[in-house]
Subunit: 204 residues, 2 copies
């Protein structure tokens, strides 16, 4: 199909599609004439993934890395996660103190070498952000975070599809990125429900 048709079926405007092509997020169509290219299912599917990533707050640069991870899966299933997380996690920052992050990770079952430095640094960076704001997670709350997040991760990893490498890549890469807004939104609903039950107020 032509770019105008690709635009019509996906609801993404032609200038936006051209922008994704220039940025290398979307592969070029097959040249059907000097000024015309043909697009197919691959482009439709890829456009949906791009929109979903950008809509959930992933940057253009991170989206490019996530798409690269989708296109060039590593050999070992476990490395997929590292690749997916690396695509959306800021680079490591050697000035960060990892002590507390490693303590929390240990309570999640972590042993040295089990996960990428990037995600440990992300934990350390989040802890630093809380500290800078003068905010402390109450003592009884942190173990609840760790216990329930570990249960969530167990269910997610148990759900990795095994029928094909492609399905596994898709699940791991998109699942770890795209599910984040859902989990955060559900947490807000649950907080308001728990708050209404405790304080008896109504939402607005």
């Amino acid at each position: 199909m032509r770019i105008s048709e690709l635009s019509a079926v996906t609801g993404v405007t032609v200038p936006t599609i051209k922008y994704y092509l220039r940025e290398g997020l979307l592969p070029e169509g097959e040249r059907s004439a000097p000024t015309q290219a043909a697009y197919g299912d691959v482009h439709m599917q890829r456009l949906r993934v791009i929109r979903a990533l950008l809509d959930s707050g992933v940057t253009i640069a991170e989206t490019r890395r996530v798409l690269e991870a989708l296109d060039t899966p590593p050999e070992k299933a476990h490395d997929l996660l590292g690749t997916a997380h690396a695509a959306i996690t800021p680079p490591v920052d050697d000035a960060l103190d990892l002590t507390e992050a490693e303590q929390l990770a240990t309570q999640l079952g972590w042993e040295p070498g089990m996960c990428s430095q990037a995600v440990l640094h992300a934990v350390a960076r989040a802890l630093q952000g809380l500290k800078r704001a003068g905010f402390t997670v109450p003592d009884p709350v942190m173990p609840v975070y760790l216990e329930n997040i570990r249960r969530i991760a167990d269910a997610e990893i148990a759900g990795v599809p095994t029928e094909s490498a492609e399905a596994a890549v898709r699940y791991v890469v998109l699942g770890s990125v795209l599910v984040e807004p859902l989990l955060l939104a559900l947490r807000r609903v649950a907080q308001q429900v728990a708050s209404a039950e405790r304080f008896g107020g109504a939402g607005n």
Copy 2:
């Protein structure tokens, strides 16, 4: 203290402080001379909160609304959460279908009126993002999300400090925003740990 001293103690550059002043994020200092203003603890504390919010990906406009929520707490404790969430949740979108979001909310204990439309819309938007990308949360995983997120929210709401309204506001507003990067980072660690245990790979 002078603006240069405020910069020195907080590590935030003078141009950045001036930018926050212009944007109305930071209250003006007390005029001590026509071209000089004096800053105090309030400004130091506020700067820390601003940095923490911006560092965790909250926009300037959202930060302004969070700070307004901190400054003008609502009368009822429960409304705090609505105010905090409204500050960081995009406006409602009437084109969204809320059916599935309400089903999930119901499983979290939600009844109509218990939480703000904004957070239900955030759930619906996240579900739409997943659908657009052609990603489905596996059937056995969704109940695990709901159950464990509800446990997390219960612990968080049980931890709301009761010694003062100010402490409660601070906990609720900052806790719901600033803890998000920590939870997401811990999930990534837990996923890599669970993956290493299941697939036997090592991190990188």
